[in-house]
Amino acid sequence: MSVAGINVLVEETRAIQARAGEPLLAIEDVSTYYGSVAALRGVDLTVGRGEIVTLIGANGAGKSTLMMTIFGAPRARSGTIRYAGEDITRLPTHRIARLGLAQSPEGRRVFPRMSVFENLQMGASLHGGRWFAQDLERVCALFPRLKERLQQRAGTMSGGEQQMLAIGRALMSRPTLLLLDEPSLGLAPLVVKGIFDAIRDLNRQDGMTIFLVEQNAYHALKLAHRGYVLVNGRVTMSGTGRQLLDDPAVKAAYLEGGHGAATTA
């Protein structure tokens, strides 16, 4: 092979690498305010294709605000949010959702008076039911509990089941990037394990990119490829899940106490 041929090959490889290296979601210097109160101050964060990235932090650190800012409500006052290279900072929420992002929002927000089946239908409304049967099958395989309750009203289910429904509803839109806001909030350890197993399966088997906001730092960091720590609206630390788990500062702030309980559970 000629030198020129090798050079072309090298160029191509670089191009592929560059494309693979371009993050699916890139948050650059984003600040969000509630009135005059800053909730996020210049946050930088990236989520690469096929990754599980987690954001941990204490109550009021701005985790959910970041999640909602990605979805355009509230809107970022400065900075840019790019999804697959496209600037989505100023797009209305429903347009962002149409690009292939889905979220299971804080507090689940299922439609309480509608049946589980109707909730899932709402999740699939972007595609007009083209893959509905197939996707329903998949969600039911992931959360067998939902299958038993398709006709039940979402509001009558337990918290864990509603959480499963919220994730299932998000999955029905066939997202490329799934945003999960505190899926373990207020749930029994066994249920949490089930949900985290499901998240892992989605990532490993379906190659779905997942951005996970969690207070349950131990579980989240164990699951995630990379993690960020948010304190008072600023990212103070980032690294692989392992690195953060072993970091003494993270240990002291988020893992001590909770850690022991989590391992015995």
Binding site: A97, R109, P112, M114, Q121, M122, R153, G155
Partner: protein
Amino acid sequence: MAPARSPGLPDILRDAGLYALVAFALCVPVVSYRTEAGPAGLELLPRWPLVGLLCAGIFVLRLAQRLVLARRDARRALIPAPSQATEAVHAEPAAGQTVSGFALWAFLGLALTLPVIATLASGGLGPARYWIDLGILILTYVMLGWGLNIVVGLAGLLDLGYVAFYAVGAYTYALLSTTFGLSFWVCLPLAGLFAGLWGMVLGFPVLRLRGDYLAIVTLAFGEIIRLVLINWTDVTGGAAGISSIPRASFFGIPFTADEDGFAARFGLSFDSMHRVVFLYYLILALALLTNLVTLRLRRLPIGRAWEALREDEIACRSLGIDTTATKLTAFALGAAFGGFAGSFFAVRQGFISPESFNFLESAIILAIVVLGGMGSQIGVAIAAVAMVGGPELLRNLGFLSAVFGEGFDPNEYRLLLFGLAMVTMMVWRPRGLISERQPSVSLGRARGISGAHVSEGHG
């Protein structure tokens, strides 16, 4: 936990007696004497029989209530409670929260045959007029209720100014027919279209508002329309309204006595009641159309989006639903049906004025929707019958004057009874008459789920 001992009959009797005693104590100062202006100043007229009657009534009512409750408790004790919250609950709707299929058909059958029944019962078309007119009035409110149900019941947007669209529809027909001589059948769709357009015009600025704020703005909009109608004298005739609005024709054939008229064409002897019966079936058709469109839309994505919007707006948006467009369609469609009803109102009355479109109308329509159970079509129909037909019933209660003395006019107590009915409803059935929501899709056996098991949606 030891099972609670069910109360025996002596307990219940003692309890009812206690109630009667309390009632008696309350009656002594309030009811037992009546002051009357006599020749020598005020005289006290004792009314002890009335007191006795009231106390006996309270006693019987309490007894009945306790007996019913005791039976219910006994029945409940036989049904095992779910042992755990996560266990699947077979939440069957309680009796009275659903309307059986049979009752539905009976209701529809009665609506379809009312003119016939009324004619047979009162012995002739002429005497039946009262009942048919009442039927028309009720059906108008059923239609308005169903129209508003799209906005309030399904999409969850509290609209206190619905009567504005009713007015727009009525004035559209009145003005188009008196000015340009257009027939009712041309004006009817135009009125709906125009009202729907106004729904959009109102919708745009208020879309960002929610709950109470939306209610206030729609209330204001209703008043603005009314004030414009009063003050824009050149066009609307001001407070005097518009009179001699052309009557509806039978698809082009007028209801007149001459040989081109409806009666002559169909070989009938002329009767002015033909027009009334025709109007009855016209409003019935319009109401059923509203119902059919609503039921159909509920099964389509747009209808589901309305309901989801009522449940949770933020979740809706993050699922990629354009809430602006969704709200606008609900507003426009609800308004369009209001417009249809309005043009019907104009053609029936032959005269309209801003007086007919005051806030009380909006309140009554809203009360029909809320009492019926938000989102339930049959509930709205039942509530309309009760709300509009109920006051009519009071006119026929003259025999009560035997109990309450001469000069007792039950009609004067209409609003009082109305309020009482409202309070009773809110205590006894806070989610409306038919609180159960039928899922728009069902797998296998359709099963409604009682509203009592589900928390209310917010948004």
